[in-house]
Amino acid sequence: MNFRKVFLADRRMLARDAGIMVLPLALLFLLGPMLFANQGLFMELAIYVMLADALNIVYGFTGYLPFGFGVFFAVGAYGTAILVAFHGWPVALAILAGALFSALLSLLFTPLLRLSGAYFAIASLAAFEAVYLIFSNSSLTSVTGGPYGISFTSVYAPNLDYAVAAVLAVVSALTVLAVSGSSFGIALKAIREDRFAVELAGVNSLKYRTYAWLISSFLSGVAGGLYGWYLGFFYPEAVFSLTDFSVLVIVFVLFGGRGTVFGPLIGVAVLFAVYEFLTLYFSNLVLIIFGVLLVLLILFIPNGIMEQVTRLGRLLFRPEEGE
């Protein structure tokens, strides 16, 4: 990588995009809890923004879909909880260490990156299951709390936790923007488009994928730690939920547009609102509606709504560029 010229994209454009990205997010996180009087909702939103950005780095940019991606989130939550509850660490340090656990786990799983397509997706699903069964195993109750859950309510501080999560959600969005505009991000996207061509051009695709994988798992781990802290007490199923922290995030990213900078944020904002609305009023239909939505999404707008929005914008404002 040429470190002297890391940012290949135009700096002014980057600054503009950063502004467009930070302002609405900051407003949402500041005013949201006041308007709706429900901090927990916005906490989840912040967590989903981080997870969507983390997934975007590995799935959006490199094209590798880790289906059991939520494992890093859960390990982050557990790392934090174990260090605080059983070893008396301060929370901030424990969250950092939990995220490092996630990154370490992802290093352990790097051999999976040699696999392609479906093999990779299934292997990561199996890895998720295996790690879940280890953490929830009753033989390890003294180490992880086993199936009976883990509690560290003594350090419970929801307001501080929310503030940190909101700031980090914005930071993670900016991270994606920075990655997207850097030569690193361009290498990742090139890997997604044609791995053979990238290898022929002398780029070590495995190395770049490993970096993306590490960043993504670390970010998920941080999100997990913050979420665990917010819960204060949780059962293994609460953080090892394939639906909540893998599949929903995948749907958010797909809906917005994988590999785009704004897509995942829009996906989270729109679909999380829809999801919460459905859970509130039609809780027994959530699975069905989301399932059908997912099917329609993949069949009709596989590249996400960002692409449609961009095309529409181009038609409206710059008709001379056209298609």
Partner: protein, 293 residues
Amino acid sequence: MSLFVDAFVTSMLYAAFFSLAALGLNLVFGVMRIVNLAHGEFLVMGSYLAIALAIHYGFNPVLSLAVVVPLFFAIGLLLYYPLVPRLQRSDDPEMSSFILFFGVSFAMEGLAVQFFGNNYQEMNYALFRPLHLNLLNSTVPTAWVVTAAVSVAAIVAVYLYLYRTGLGLKTRALMINRDEAMANGVNINRVSAVAFGFSIALAAAAGSFSSLISYPTSPSIGDTFTLISFAIIIIGALGNPLATVLGAVVFAYAYGYTDIYLPNWSSIVPFIILIAVILARPQGLLGRKAREF
């Protein structure tokens, strides 16, 4: 020692059942190169139907196959046409199918909760008399022996279809090389639709017996069956239906013996084997090359 023998016999019966459970998934992957993540949900639906038939009409699950198999074959055909051809025109059918069928499984799980509730349901063991049989010096439930026998019969039927019929020949041609099969006049959609129908029917047939030999039926158990089926077909060889049997044997014996000697860790074993096999030999024990890098 007798514990060892019991585990041997039980695992053998398990292996037959799980071959049947995973067979359809492998057929679909082999023919269409798509991943049916809703496989376990079809199995669960078949299971609900068989249980309902047993409760309301006193059907033995073997008898209910006469209803379950044709019905789910038809459902498979009906689902094939709106979903799969469109999927195969996308940039990356394999990955798209993964997500699409996850959506299908989501919706099916939701439907199952709506119609059958979240409780566990089980087929009545007492439909089989005598309750127990003696097999190789160990006593096993008759229901398990019947399940295994039906599974073996179904596997033989799939073998005969693939190797002794015209459509089976075309199916194998598609599995080996899609483009060349098409160039030689194989009607891809028709062959694939039939394979998809068979796959769904096989899943439902396995479901008719699943609550007897493995987990009780509930909406959320579908994912578990999907994952186990995946483990099995990857251990065997992805895209080679008959290698499923070998995968199921490895899975069943590994599971059966850990279940006896380390019961707390038995459920993790299939995933460990799966990851180990994927890393060491991603093409499966019986497969040709698969890994790109």
